[in-house]
């Protein structure tokens, strides 16, 4: 069953509003097993609306339209729908009664704009909206269902959940669609794809694999489609297990878990605490870790030692190490991690020292160089990595490298 989404409003085109409505609708439709084949955003302009509706008619079974149903003069979806379906606006008595009641409850007088909200195209079926003043509208022509919903997210969601989704699920015996997300870290997309060449080649019909990369983390999404939800789920599950046995070292979690969440989960399981000593990540590690509710159970704190005098004064790094090897070096990052473990009284510490850029690189230590170390009761070890030249990208990548080294160490211990 093919669906598409049309969102109406200038604010969406000029980027003043990010279109979260269509993302939510797409997610709901797709989880219900319907194919979302297209999303379109257009101006509040009559001909643009008519063109979009014409293009969709016949192409899709269901077209969900949001926006342009408000009471002001730039809201022209209702007249455009009348043009398209060759009908006219009439007052719907039920809707009028609801709006009158609502205004009375809020102590506002009824005015012309409120009355206009009770007008609907004569040929539509009205979907009553208990979450606001603009009703939903249901049309059918030439095998296509058109559903017009308000753009206010809470009202749109109310109508989708109470009217649209249940009715569509009943009408269209849909295919079952199962998504599973497996989180990986450690190799770039191209190399991961190489490792999964055989896995991909042997995927059965009805199962697809997608790569979704972000700051070094690659989310692998397996999507299974078929008649029967239980057998699709089973089929996907066997492939998830195969994925685990194909790249065991690269998988750290599932369903959108971040590296800092995975680290937090492991620390909580083992009852251990964590601290960080950050130079080049400048507090980003601490902020990622503390962004998680309840992180105070395992995170004690951080020393952001941006200036060298803080590395020596607060973390006890020997000035001579910095003098001889430079702040971005293996001996210094090891001393930072070990110093932090003492001073913060934490079971685990991670330290970072690097050159985030855009300036500050040298021939031997170019911009993008990272030294990171993890320290625990079982010892301290350091690694060097090299990335690109964009400062914020580097800070994110540096942080993920450090979190992953820590994660592996906690598992090993």
């Amino acid at each position: 069953m093919k669906t598409e989404i049309i969102t109406i409003g200038d604010e969406l085109l000029i980027g003043q509003t990010i279109d979260t409505n269509s993302a939510w609708i797409g997610s709901e439709l797709s989880m219900a097993g319907f194919d979302v084949m297209k999303k379109t955003s257009i101006h509040d302009i009559r001909t643009d609306i008519l063109n979009a509706l014409s293009e969709a008619e016949g192409r899709s079974n269901v077209v969900i339209i949001t926006g342009g149903l408000g009471p002001t003069s730039d809201d022209i979806t209702k007249p455009a729908l009348c043009d398209f379906f060759g009908t006219r606006l009439v007052i719907n008595p039920e809707v009028l009664a609801m709006i009158t009641e609502m205004m009375k409850r809020r102590n506002f007088p009824m005015n012309l704009n409120n009355r206009r909200q009770a007008e609907v195209p004569e040929s539509c079926r009205v979907l009553t909206n208990a979450a606001g003043t603009a009703p939903g509208m249901w049309f059918e022509r030439n095998g296509t269902i058109f559903i017009s919903l308000p753009g206010v997210p809470s009202e749109m969601k109310y109508l989708m959940i109470t009217h649209v989704l249940p009715e569509l699920k009943q009408r269209f015996r849909s295919q079952a669609i199962i998504h599973r997300n497996i989180m990986t870290y450690g190799v770039p997309e191209a190399l991961l794809a190489e490792k999964l060449e055989g896995f991909e080649a042997e995927l059965p019909v009805g199962i697809k694999l997608a790569y979704l990369p972000s700051s070094g983390v690659i989310k692998l999404r397996l999507t299974g489609t078929g008649r029967d939800a239980v057998s699709v789920a089973k089929l996907v599950e066997t492939r998830v297990r195969l994925l685990y046995s194909t790249i065991p070292d690269l998988i750290y979690g599932e369903e959108g878990e971040t590296l800092e969440m995975a680290v937090g989960r492991l620390l909580r399981e083992k009852g251990k605490t964590l601290g960080t000593a950050e130079s080049c990540t400048g507090g980003n590690l601490a902020r990622l870790i503390t962004g998680i509710p309840g992180s105070s159970d395992y995170f004690v704190g951080s020393v952001v030692s941006y200036a060298n005098h803080i590395k020596s004064k607060l973390l006890g790094v020997d000035d001579k190490l910095i003098e001889n090897f430079g702040a971005v070096s293996e001996p210094v990052v090891i001393a930072m991690a070990e110093g932090a473990r003492t001073v913060l009284s934490a079971d685990y510490t991670i330290a970072t020292s690097g050159i985030a850029g855009p300036d500050g690189g040298t021939e031997h230590k170019p911009v993008g160089t990272l030294w990171t170390a993890v320290s625990s009761a079982s010892g301290t070890k350091a690694e060097m990595h090299t990335f690109g030249s964009d400062r914020l990208t580097n800070i994110n990548r540096f942080s993920n490298v450090a979190l992953n080294i820590l994660r592996k160490q906690i598992i090993k211990d």
Copy 2:
């Protein structure tokens, strides 16, 4: 000049990724004076891509396409473009050299997938991408320009800023559009709008005012449109000056300057240094400050004292203060700021202690409570603020409150 945006990727249709790319592109095109008439999201499916390209050809002057340029088998934009333009993929030696160099720098071996990223349709003009491995591609046919960009936001933005926008601006002589952004902080949007009622009412034809709020910062964008760039710029400039005299205390900068940038600018001007002592902001202040290139000139570091034993051990906060008043209190936040000034040897320090949520609130100190203090040679002062219940929103709001108090203190000193 008509433009449209096509974003390619299943993840956009099923709502797994919110399409922020098209919002950003729409905003940039519209600020450049171009009409963004349509945005479309489609599957990674050959026929869907071909249909979308066909529909756009002739209808728009410029079509910007993002996504599907990665090295894996679900990335099919390049072969689809070849079909559409009747051309074939060829290795581009320059792109190949760039990718080889990049992989070498990161110590990864080149494989077939990396080589595939250097393949481009023979008939396109290549836009070199210094921010990643997938180049941009520029096609022209029947009066329509098609520009294909990678879906990774940082790479897409790099190519838009360095190649696409400058060239489009040169090619299409549009109306003069002048934007000026005035950054404000301190009152919510509704109150700011009230203060600017008279200012707005007296705006001349051709000048518009928009409110763009984010984490308490409200960007006021004045947009002037007209035939002649010089006279439009003059007209906008007089309104900017009027804005400064209308709300002098609320304006802290211009053109997208953040509060941490404003603080950095002031510290640099006065030759002073800064450190932070963070509890509830968990390193977010340090990471905002160090996100700015060159911040090591004035930022010395931070003590993220998440656990109370770090507040006392590293910042010298008297245990009895914590015992008697609680960690989230005026005496403790003052002791943190003052302790940090000693231990970090900084001219200015800011401290935060609060309850970010979602749990941990009490009747007298509900979730969203923030105590923040600024300390300098002229003394220490603290303020309390209260926000809502969402953790990440609170951390951002807390950080901006603290940065603004610091900013005002530096100006005062």
